[in-house]
């Protein structure tokens, strides 16, 4: 997947980057190109700023202040540590089935970094790094993945949708929220996150078209982690470059090295500005890799060659960022070590909170069905409560 795209990839200059895959003005010329032998890929823009060795492209470096860099680094480390801890908890029977995000930390943090609190975020089920950044709590996420409905409580002060387990289905409402923003003349943006597998769903295609037609301020982040359970992304779609789905709908698009936190931030920033400025939706394909299991119920040994995983280990988003931070004198190796431990401590403290909060509340299952429960449902609820009583549960 990546090797083919690599050979075609061109690094854009900063100016060029402001007009990747322009669709609007180019509709006619695209049509003309289509008639010729070969489709012009010249305008497909790949963005990479910090390479796998931690070498930065100075011309593109967003040069964020040290305090911001530290905040971003910590969030990435926290994402990874939480992932590791949850996996251990799951293996010890203290956590339900969940979807680890190992290796996708840059994609996760980079896509939400440019959002304000007033913007909206619609996560995937693998987005807990981004959810933490947005203000979801560690204990809340633990509750949620351990089957406690309470974990789905949306934290006060943010506009986020709960993720939907049904692949791609959340993209419809996400575009609708963005259409609402446009109707009201609000200056906010919706950012929606989904996988390469999701890009095959009808609703994703239909919603992208709506976003384009209504110039909805919606940023699509297609997180291409190479796999949809056992299906590699090259078997998921006839088109290798999923980024080309964007221009097909008339949506400005860019492909980004998703393991490069700086590129993710720069691309998302640009996408968000574009949407906020009333220019319509924006589409980002973030190329990354699912290093771990699809979910804790999955066994990738059945379908994938571990040498591919090894290759991606060398592209670790955190390691390259730490090299960059060390070169800049922002964080030393010892600092990183300490931060890792602090994150671990914070997670363990949150696990205690989770353990305390982990009390099933079977009484509430009727409570969020309607504004007011219709009489027939009230009757069912009473019947259900009698059942709980009989079982000795209040």
């Amino acid at each position: 997947m990546t090797t083919t795209s690599k050979s075609r990839s061109r690094k854009p200059g900063p100016v060029e980057m402001t007009a990747p895959l322009d669709s609007d003005g180019d509709a006619g010329s695209t049509a003309r190109t289509m008639g010729q032998d070969k489709i012009d890929l010249g305008s497909v823009t790949d963005l990479s700023i910090l390479d796998a060795n931690g070498t930065v492209d100075n011309a593109l470096d967003p040069k964020l202040p040290a305090a911001e860099l530290k905040r971003i680094h910590r969030a990435m480390v926290m994402t990874r540590k939480l992932d590791e801890r949850m996996l251990r908890m799951q293996r010890q029977g203290e956590m339900g089935t969940f979807a680890p995000g190992l290796g996708q930390e840059a994609t996760q943090i980079g896509q939400v970094y440019p959002l304000t609190k007033d913007d909206w975020y619609s996560p995937s089920y693998r987005s807990f790094g981004a959810q933490l950044w947005r203000g979801w709590t560690i204990d809340g996420l633990m509750l949620l993945w351990d089957g406690y409905f309470e974990g789905f409580t949306i934290p006060d002060g943010i506009n986020d949708l709960p993720f939907s387990i049904v692949i791609g289905s959340h993209v419809g409402p996400a575009v609708g929220v963005a259409m609402g923003m446009r109707s009201r003349g609000d200056n906010n943006v919706m950012l929606v996150n989904y996988g390469d597998g999701a890009s095959s769903q009808g609703i994703v295609a239909e919603a992208m078209n709506f976003a384009a037609v209504y110039k909805a301020p919606c940023v699509f982040v297609c997180e291409n982690n190479g796999w949809a359970i056992s299906v590699p992304s090259e078997n998921q779609a006839g088109v290798r470059e999923l980024v080309r789905r964007g221009p097909a709908y008339g949506i400005e698009s860019i492909r980004v090295d998703g393991n490069d936190i700086l590129a993710m931030i720069v691309a998302t920033q640009r996408a968000v500005e574009h949407a906020r400025a009333g220019k319509g939706p924006y589409y980002i394909e973030a190329q990354t890799y699912r290093m771990s299991l699809h979910t804790t119920a999955d066994d990738p040994k059945v379908y994938r060659d571990e040498t591919q995983v090894k290759q991606w280990e060398a592209k670790c988003p955190i390691a390259r960022f730490e090299t960059y931070l060390a070169t800049k004198g922002v964080l030393s190796e010892a600092d990183c070590e300490r931060i890792g431990q602090e994150c671990e401590q914070e997670i363990l403290a949150s696990r205690e909170v989770f353990r305390e909060r982990a009390r099933a509340n079977p009484r509430e299952v009727f409570d969020y069905m309607f504004d007011e429960l219709p009489a027939e449902l009230l009757e069912q609820k009473e019947e259900y409560l009698r059942k709980l009583e009989r079982k000795g549960l209040e």
């Binding site: 339900g96 089957g147 999701a198 769903q201 009808g202 299952v365 069905m369 259900y384 059942k387």
Partner: protein, 327 residues
Amino acid sequence: MAQCTMVEALNLALDQNMAADNDVVVMGEDIGVNGGVFRVTKGLRDKYGELRVLDTPLAENAIIGTAVGMAIYGLKPVAEIQFSGFTMQAFDQIEQNMARLRNRSRGRYTVGMVLRAPYGGGIRAVEHHSESREAYWAHTPGLKCVIPSGPRNARALLHAAINDPDPVVFYEPKAVYRAFREDVPEEPEPIEIGKAEVVREGSDVTMIAYGAMMRPAREAVDDLADLHNVDVELIDLLSISPMDTQTLAESVRKTGRCVVVHEGPRTCGIAAEIIARLNEHAFEFLCAPIRRVTGYDIHFPYFQVEQHYLPDADTIIEAVQETVAWE
């Protein structure tokens, strides 16, 4: 005879039918190289190749839509939807084409295909992985819908479904997938879609259940016999649509009392249909109102509390006792 789990029994039915008929193809998400997330299609890809075992893109509506086309062309597709919750993505093609193409083409084309999907709660799963919405398919004209309860009838029913000239929705109780083993004969057993099975004869009250609910139903029946001196006639419905009204009505004419059990939501559920039919066919024999023990009209709860949602033996026993006590 081999001792099989339901997963193995289903795999056997697929394997034997693929071996016997090159037109049988299986398709779905992660069913090839991975052998299916529940391993029902394990080994088939190696045996029959990628043209007959299709790992599809992640698009249920297209899985069913294209399966319909393959069926029209003469193949016998068995399409897996990874969890029945995602049949909703395919509602469009199920209703518009799978159920209708025979009629729309005035019988020129037939849709001999199977939609397989694991359904039901009880496996500590996340949202949309526990639904029991078979009523949708019973409500859709042009479809058949069957639900096995154990390895042996699962194999027999799947064999019948694959060879049925019309579209069959085949719901598999995932809570039963590996719950127990049964002897499954090497040779396919004939079983007729549309027939219920009286699994225990009794005289006091009829109990009708299917799928995963057969387990708490059996438990309740045993307790009622051992501890409460109530003799239950237990019927495994097996076929949701068409429904074996005759077997159900005969039993109720005998016992005069009836309790229906299912885990799906109550309103317009399968029990509602059964009760309506018994009203039509056994009303004058009834000694008590027919009771239903079902899921509630709410979204399937998160897994820490799912056991309270699902009908259990105690709730079923209580309903039976009330029915038997009615004068």
